[in-house]
């Protein structure tokens, strides 16, 4: 009985009917799919765009059916339309690769002969041939282990050019190497496509690899044959690369690979030769054969003439390939190269390799318009530096000495390569590429500094002097100076704060630099100085060199961005050391606010600078006078906008209102007289409480400002109670104020407590809940405010329950915020939550319902809330929680199990936490509840059986002390509930959560 006859006896294919009548496969009975039907369907598929979708489904079903073993062969006929032949070829590949289990063992040989004959028949038809060659590849993989152990040798013999009847020798050779390439490639995909497990994959790979000598020998012969065209040799090199990926030993491939180097002179062969060299030298197996690798790398240096020739011919492509190859070598073997650099016999090789990459970095011309190769070795400079640091003692010193000239040269190179091009020389896309390139240079300067330390700063100093001289002689020649400042800025955060030699000299030289009113240059200088803020904090005596440039910059409309940025950095890093310069800074800030048309970010930065400067060393009257002068125009404008709100604000006015609130928010965050002298005391309960009273003893200036401002803020709140942007800005302002004032904000608390209900009842914005959380934590346990906080919490929970409970999906962020607030309250002020008994059960239900929501944050918040609720419920002093848990254990357990099987898996740890808490506090109740749930057969069926539920219950109850094991049990149930248990995918994604 032939294979086809056997397969005809196989169960008949039944498929869901597509909408097309002609291809109807029957909804109620079994019927055959004939080759004619398939042919017609394929032809129509390509002709009729309307019917495409339905036909596609039908054809796919036909392809997967057992019938396809029958209909595919007659369609592989050169007289049939090409698309029909392709479909048939594809079908054969799919069947051989994925449905191998359908082939009876005695039909292996006929199937092989059939495929081989078809390959010979289609040797000139590229498209169909590719499918057939892949089919043979899949066939070899399925049989090489036991049934066709000599497959590779047999194929080499079968397709020996000149011996295959009816096929041109060159075609036969092409065919042979195509097959030899496909086999290792199919190995790569077989695990997923052919359902072969990883253990079998290893065995099959070893079986294929065993034949590598005959393949390498064949490749060697063909590459040496002068009469064979480069087109064929390109295919041969691809075969070599495919086999090298099987991790062939370098000791066996080295001679062949070295012999290939001369072929890289040919444009067509250069890339495959480089690819083969790269695959061989970067293979994981090479880590165990350092001597062979070093010997090979030495041989690879024979590529230098190829590189020189490419450079001579302006052949960037070949140069890039060679440089990329050596970059890969260093990235892969950097530590080995460094070890060898310490040995006299290998040092020259290492030096030459590194010199080659330095040469690459210094490729002449503008990046990316003139060249795109100098960026290739960026990663190498980090790798070498990083690995040098892993050596110790004398070895490290020797390496640092060896690489010192390399990195100094690199610094010179980068200064040249980072020169800004003339204006408009680059398109927008090229500018972006150049920006990234400069960013990489910036990072590499940092690595160079780790190798060079003071030598680098000394080197930069020489460049700085040269650049200043050039600038003095020709003010238009400023780009060199800009590049040097860029280099200084790149190492700013890396230089040690203890450097007392080079950095001071650089800072001192700033006032001497002839900027010639060059905006770009001054901007870079300002940014650079801002970057040295941390160093300046330790060197107050140098502050006077930098402040003048910054304060001047503030009043220049073109420089205010960079100057405000630099000064902000300085005021944040050096709150005390900047104090002596407060007057000129404040004056300039005032002028900047008055004169320039600033954007909101710049205004906020200036407000930050003012607040930080006023926070140190000023008496209250001075501060208030300055604040009055600065804030009055903004508050007046805010008041005007408030008045206009009644009649509706324009988009511009609305944005202005939000910007003004953000501006005040900046002030409230940074205007803190205790910022540098925060005291922390333990109160009688052992908790830490910050005192905000100003050091001078008087109230904080921020409090005085806010006392005047609160009526205005209340009015804005009442008018914008549904405007989310305004609410968020307002809440941020109040939150920052409370953080700064801490206990002192009691004075404005009544006004805040009036604003919050007004806003929350109109809009369930989570920013309001965040503010409430801050207040409850701060004042929830304080005698005088405890009652107020209780009222506030009740208002929030009542409003959330009444508004959000009806449609949780629409208010997921409010539910998230509310549950987070309650969790915080459970931990810090449990007295407040339990004070309102009638809320406790509805809140528990809200938490349970929230577990079903899709948002990870909300589910996590619900998990924390329920866990805290359950853990606290056994506390005798809070008696109202326990009955709620006891009455709802089954609902909670069912919800948890349902969510474990159905909700996104990243929430599993939240479900597990709740289950752990339940197990810990209500173990006996849970045992009973598990039994009830197990008895309900319909629950979670059909995937989760009663036995699964029983095993889950056992695992959970047995491991009640171990959160990790309960999470494992939860993960197991999640995989069962999704039908993923036992699959590789399920195993690989166990750590999902």
């Amino acid at each position: 009985m032939s294979l086809l006859q056997k397969l005809d006896c196989a169960p008949q294919f039944v498929a869901a009917a597509p909408s097309l009548r002609r291809y109807h496969m029957g909804t109620s009975n079994k019927m055959e799919v004939s080759a004619e039907q398939v042919e017609q369907a394929v032809v129509e598929f390509y002709r009729d765009p309307v019917a495409k979708s339905g036909l596609n489904t039908w054809l796919m079903q036909a392809q997967h059916s057992r019938h396809s073993w029958t209909f595919a062969w007659p369609l592989l006929d050169p007289r049939k339309p090409e698309e029909v032949q392709f479909f048939a070829g594809n079908t054969v590949y799919m069947k051989v690769s994925r449905y191998w289990h359908e082939v009876p063992k005695e039909e292996y040989e006929p199937l092989k002969i059939k495929i081989l004959n078809l390959i010979a028949q289609y040797s000139n038809s590229k498209v169909v041939l590719n499918r057939l060659v892949k089919s043979l590849g899949a066939y070899v993989i399925h049989t090489i282990q036991h049934d066709w152990t000599t497959a590779i040798q047999d194929i080499i013999t079968m397709f020996d050019p000149g011996t295959v009847p009816g096929i041109e020798p060159s075609t036969a050779l092409n065919l042979l190497f195509s097959i030899l390439t496909i086999i290792p490639e199919e190995l790569e995909t077989m695990q997923e496509a052919m359902s072969i497990n990883s253990k079998d994959k290893q065995v099959i790979t070893a079986a294929v690899r065993n034949s590598h000598q005959s393949v390498l020998s064949l490749i060697s012969q063909v590459m040496q044959a002068a009469q064979i065209s480069n087109v064929i040799k390109e295919v041969v090199l691809k075969t070599l690369n495919a086999w090298l990926k099987l991790s062939l030993p370098l000791s066996e491939t080295r001679d062949l690979l070295v012999a290939l180097i001369p072929y890289s002179n040919y444009a067509l062969l250069c890339e495959p030769v480089m690819e083969a060299l790269r695959t061989a030298v970067t293979d994981v197996g090479t880590y165990n054969i350092p001597n062979t690798v070093m010997d090979f790398v030495t041989q690879m240096l024979r590529l230098r003439p190829v590189l020189e020739e490419a450079q001579h011919a302006n052949d960037e492509n070949t140069a890039s390939l060679v440089y990329s190859l050596f970059t890969s070598v260093v990235e892969c073997h950097s530590r080995l190269l460094l070890q060898c650099a310490l040995q006299a016999e290998h040092q020259a090789t290492v030096v030459q390799v590194v010199a080659l990459l330095l040469q690459c970095a210094a490729t002449p011309g503008q990046y990316p318009t003139d060249e795109t190769t100098s960026n290739i070795p960026f990663a190498v400079w980090f790798t070498i530096q990083d690995d040098i640091m892993t050596f110790e003692g004398e070895q490290q010193a020797e390496l640092l000495q060896l690489f010192q000239p390399v990195y100094l040269k690199l610094v010179d190179t980068f200064i040249q390569k980072s020169l800004l091009p003339p204006d408009n020389a680059l398109s927008a896309e090229e500018k972006e590429m150049f920006r990234c390139y400069r960013q990489d240079i910036c990072d590499t300067y940092m690595y160079a500094y780790y190798v060079l330390r003071g030598d680098m700063l000394s080197h930069l100093e020489v460049h700085l002097k040269d650049a200043v001289v050039k600038m003095q002689s020709d003010p238009t020649d400023w780009r060199y100076l800009e590049a040097v400042l860029h280099a200084y800025s790149s190492v700013a955060e890396t230089v040690a704060e203890t450097d007392n030699f080079y950095v001071p000299r650089f800072i001192q030289s700033i006032p001497q630099i002839p900027f010639s009113d060059n905006i770009q240059l001054i901007s870079v200088a300002l940014t650079t100085l801002g970057a040295y803020a941390d160093w300046l904090n330790y060197h107050q005596d140098h502050m006077h060199h930098v402040i003048p440039l910054m304060v001047e910059g503030l009043v220049n409309a073109s420089l205010v961005g960079a100057a405000s940025q630099a000064l902000r950095d300085l005021t944040l890093e050096c709150p005390l050391t900047i104090s002596p310069f407060s007057q000129p800074i404040l004056t300039s800030c005032q002028r900047a606010l008055e004169q320039s048309r600033l954007d909101s970010a710049e205004t906020e930065r200036i407000m930050t600078i003012i607040s930080r400067v006023l926070s140190v060393g000023k008496d209250q009257p001075t501060i208030m006078t300055y604040l009055n002068a600065t804030l009055t125009p903004y508050i007046s404008r805010l008041s005007q906008l408030k008045d206009l709100m009644g009649s509706g604000l324009s988009r511009e006015q609305h944005n202005e209102l939000v910007s003004l609130l953000k501006l005040l928010s900046c002030m409230s965050r940074h205007l803190n007289l205790n910022n540098t002298a925060v005291e922390e005391d333990d109160d009688e309960d052992g908790t830490t409480r910050r005192h905000s009273q100003a050091v001078s003893g008087g109230p904080q200036p921020l409090l005085l400002v806010l006392q005047q401002l609160m009526p205005l803020l209340s009015a804005i709140a009442s008018k914008a109670s549904t405007d989310q942007e305004v609410i968020e800005a307002l809440c941020k302002l109040l939150k920052n104020s409370i953080s700064t004032l801490v206990d002192d904000c009691v004075a404005i608390l009544p006004a805040i407590l009036e604003i919050i209900p007004q806003l929350y009842e109109a809009s369930l914005n989570p920013a309001i809940l965040d503010l409430v959380k801050q207040l409850v934590i701060l004042f929830g346990r304080e005698g005088s405010q405890e009652a107020n906080m209780g009222v506030l919490l009740r208002m929030v929970t009542t409003t959330t329950l009444s508004r959000a409970s009806t449609d949780l999906w629409a208010h997921t962020d409010a539910v998230h915020g509310c549950l987070a607030l309650l969790t915080a309250s459970f931990k810090k002020t449990p007295n407040l939550v339990s004070a309102h008994h009638n809320h406790v059960a509805p809140l528990f239900h809200l938490g349970v319902e929230a577990l079903k929501l899709p948002e990870e944050g909300t589910v996590r918040s619900a998990g924390h809330f329920l866990s805290s609720f359950i853990l606290l419920s056994r506390d005798a002093s809070i008696g109202c929680l326990q009955p709620v848990v006891t009455h709802n254990t089954e609902t909670l357990l069912r919800t948890l199990m349902f969510c474990i099987c159905n909700s996104p898996r990243h929430s599993l740890s939240s479900f597990s936490d709740v289950l752990s808490a339940l197990c810990k506090m209500y173990g006996d109740d849970l045992t009973r509840t598990f039994k009830t749930v197990q008895a309900d057969e319909s629950f979670l069926s059909p995937r989760v059986t009663a036995q699964h539920k029983e095993e889950f219950a056992k695992k959970v109850l047995k491991n009640r002390g171990s959160k990790r094991r309960i999470l494992e049990a939860v993960t197991d149930l999640a995989l069962i509930g999704r039908g993923l248990a036992g699959t590789d995918y399920g195993a690989q994604t166990r750590g999902f959560h």
């Binding site: 994981v284 961005g561 995918y985 994604t989």
Partner: protein, 109 residues
């Protein structure tokens, strides 16, 4: 080296959710889902290593915890300000998980 830590990102989680769903409605096999996931690992590791050039610096008021385990650094910080050129962002808590970008199989240790 292809790290799997990006599976626990919004993009990775969403992809896995989608794959879970496609498997359950029998649109794809678990083997294909695994292949997609491995491709995601490769693609995101490569893209983040080669395509991203944005530099963001940050400063934290407090480094609460740090650890180095299995070649992975973990830092937990609070009150952190991020700075990208002239933009700022403030966050209360930050967790950084950092792996060696070059990976183990590309270099000899």
């Amino acid at each position: 080296m292809t790290y799997q830590l990006y599976r626990n990102t919004t993009l990775g989680n969403t992809l896995q959710e989608s794959l879970d769903e496609l498997i359950q409605i029998q649109q794809i096999s678990p083997n294909l889902a695994l292949r997609v996931l491995l491709q995601f690992d490769r693609a995101i590791n490569q893209a983040l290593a080669t395509k991203v050039r944005t530099k963001i610096s940050f400063k934290a008021s407090k480094l609460n915890t740090y650890r180095f385990c299995d070649n992975v650094w973990t830092f937990l910080m609070s009150d952190v300000e991020f700075k990208e050129v002239q933009d700022f962002a403030q966050v209360d808590k930050l967790k950084i998980v950092a792996c060696d970008g070059r990976g183990e199989d590309t270099r000899q240790r």
